[in-house]
């Protein structure tokens, strides 16, 4: 007989958090949150960050990090806007953008897996590099691509079905695909083992280097797709686009419950987490809070979520914190050393 029946719905607590949050905003700003428009706005604006967060979930599952994605949003967004504006390319512009993202990803993968640079350093450097390259290529300018809504690509990627933004469906499809990859595919299992214990992964025959290169490439391509959705939805390319995504995307992943230590990750959690972050951002503004407070609140929620999941995961850490605080209290009562030993 098994220890206990294990009927667990992935991400159930986080879905609860989302519902509570919606209820709070409905009470705090009923004129905004009781209509459907605000939700359609979320479905239009959250998908690029959601897609990034889904990719990042796999990266973090394998115990790595990718900080370069904000620059992929700029770089691939530029490639798309430039190819459209210069040559009126649409699908080829999408392909070019995806190829650009793949290039960024492959370079990250090689730096991490072959040369052995810790991913936090390697991708921090490539974030600056590709961001810089984008600024050089654009000369710091924006590209307006207003005519893109005359083309099929606009309808297919960011059109509306009734009132529902199509990009929300794309993001959902990617979430389903990545859930299957992480939970049901060999590649996802390898990532989990690499993140859990890389020594074990090697011993059981996982080609760690190859899987990491594949992983970073996938992340780059997802970032590029997010960039195209963002650029097409805005009908504009800014050379600083994506620069504010680092905090919100990471927050979405960790609020969702993916372990910061690797080896355990939840796609459902990230999916809901991204909408929670989007809602907090929009909701705080709608309730009349100043824009610059929003970042502080998101940062705080991010930290609270990490501490919460950590204490659920490893209760011993929490008790160690309590012990430390008690120890700190005792220290205060001790006489200062200088009082005992005159100089």
């Amino acid at each position: 007989m098994p220890r206990q029946p294990r009927v667990r719905i992935e991400g159930l607590p986080i879905i609860g958090v989302l519902l509570v949050l919606v209820a709070i905003f409905m009470i705090a700003a009923p004129q905004v949150f009781l209509g459907y428009r605000i939700y359609m706005a979320f479905l239009a604006t959250v998908p690029p960050q959601l897609i990034l967060a889904l990719g990042l979930t796999l990266v973090i599952a394998s115990g790595e990090i990718d900080l370069s994605f904000p620059s992929v949003i700029a770089f691939s967004g530029f490639l798309f806007a430039w190819a459209f504006k210069t040559y009126e390319l649409t699908w080829l512009a999408l392909l070019l953008a995806l190829a650009g993202g793949a290039l960024v990803g492959v370079v990250n993968g090689i730096l991490v897996a072959v040369i052995g640079i810790p991913s936090i350093i390697a991708t921090l450097a490539t974030q600056f590099f590709w961001g810089g390259i984008t600024t050089v290529l654009t000369g710091g300018l924006s590209y307006a691509i207003r005519t893109i809504d005359d083309f099929a690509i606009h309808t297919v990627l960011v059109g509306r079905i009734g009132v529902v933004p199509v990009q929300a469906l794309w993001a959902t499809a990617i979430a389903v695909a990545l859930w299957l990859v992480l939970n049901r595919h060999r590649f996802g299992e390898h990532l989990l083992f690499i993140g859990d214990n890389v020594g074990v992964a090697r011993v059981v025959g996982v080609n760690v280097g190859r899987e990491k290169i594949k992983l970073f490439t996938l992340m780059g391509v997802l970032g590029a797709f997010a960039a195209v959705l963002l650029t097409a939805e805005n009908k504009n390319f800014f050379n600083t686009q994506g620069s504010g995504f680092l905090l919100t995307v990471m927050a979405a992943v960790f609020i969702g419950g993916t372990s910061i230590f690797g080896g355990r990750a939840t796609i459902v959690g990230t999916y809901v987490g991204a909408y929670i972050i989007g809602m907090i951002e929009a909701g705080l503004v709608a309730t009349g809070m100043q824009g610059f407070w929003v970042r502080a609140v998101v940062g705080l929620v991010f930290l609270a979520a990490v501490v919460f999941h950590l204490s659920m995961d490893q209760p011993q850490r929490l008790s160690r914190l309590k012990q430390m605080l008690r120890f700190g209290g005792r220290l205060e009562r001790r006489p200062a050393p200088s009082a005992q030993e005159p100089p």
């Binding site: 007989m1 220890r3 060999r186 299992e189 859990d196 011993v203 025959g205």
Partner: protein, 260 residues
């Protein structure tokens, strides 16, 4: 007993392994017969783990020749998958199981049962894992099933899982890396019975063990490694346990004297 079409499960000739400017193995000649239990003795850093990782395909030796089942393999292309296909299995509670993953993933990772496009047949993997737990490992009623997380299991249970996996994949050469460390007495007996079973069923094993009494009793031959070199070989019955202990101490002081 099974008849096997080869004399040596593994043979190493002049194997060399260096990491940067550190030499982990120097000119090592080592072999394991088709139905032989070879005990590997040596201090930490003697090169035992390196030797085993070469046999299991995790590390590529810097130089030397490696024969598996009497056939020369290209050491640069010999991989963990190749070792699995040649029925070489490593049993190690800490180095071969990942803590946060469920048991069924640990059983099959690296050689998943897949459907199309590399998707894992989760139901079949769990079914087989559960059957393995009941029938081969004897965890009936212990409250452990395929979904249990490895990190929640005791040392003995983990060792049982690692051994069960080796049995399931029908290994011909089983590598036991300190299998009795941190085990309760009863669990130690189970592991020792398992090693006897390997010999009885005509298979081979490389057995790393700090407890000299265990290897002395079970191994057909003992190989002593020191600082990357094979310094002594002892056949079963050549020395009593106390002679063996004295011999090892003498070797050590002689080597230390030579090094100074």
């Amino acid at each position: 007993m099974r008849r096997r079409g080869y004399d040596c499960a593994v043979r190493m000739e002049s194997i060399q392994m260096t990491f940067g400017n550190v030499t982990a193995l120097r000119d090592v000649n080592f072999e394991v017969g088709a139905n032989e239990i070879v005990g590997l003795i040596g201090d930490n850093g003697a090169g035992k783990s390196t030797l085993i990782k070469i046999v299991t395909g995790v590390l590529k030796p810097t130089a030397g020749r490696l024969y598996i089942r009497d056939r020369l393999v290209d050491p640069q292309r010999y991989s963990v998958q190749d070792a699995h296909e040649l029925r070489i299995e490593a049993v190690h509670q800490e180095k071969s199981l990942a803590d946060k993953q469920p048991l069924w993933r640990n059983m099959f990772v690296g050689r998943q049962i897949t459907k199309r496009f590399g998707f894992i047949d989760v139901r079949r993997e769990k079914e087989i894992a559960n059957r393995m737990l009941r029938e081969q490992i004897g965890f009936r009623g212990a409250g452990i099933d395929a979904d249990s997380t490895v990190g929640d299991l005791s040392g003995g249970e983990r060792q049982g899982i690692a051994i069960g996996r080796a049995m399931h994949f029908d290994a011909d050469l089983i590598i036991l890396d300190e299998p009795t460390v941190a085990l309760a007495l009863k669990e130690v007996q189970k592991v020792l019975d398992f090693v006897r079973g390997i010999k009885r069923s005509g298979r081979a094993a490389i057995y790393i063990e700090h407890n000299l009494a265990h290897v002395h009793e079970l191994a057909d031959r003992l190989v002593v490694l020191d600082r990357g070199e094979v310094v002594s070989e002892i056949r079963q019955g050549e020395m009593s346990l106390s002679d063996l202990t004295r011999h090892l101490l003498e070797l050590q002081s002689a080597r230390e004297g030579a090094a100074d």
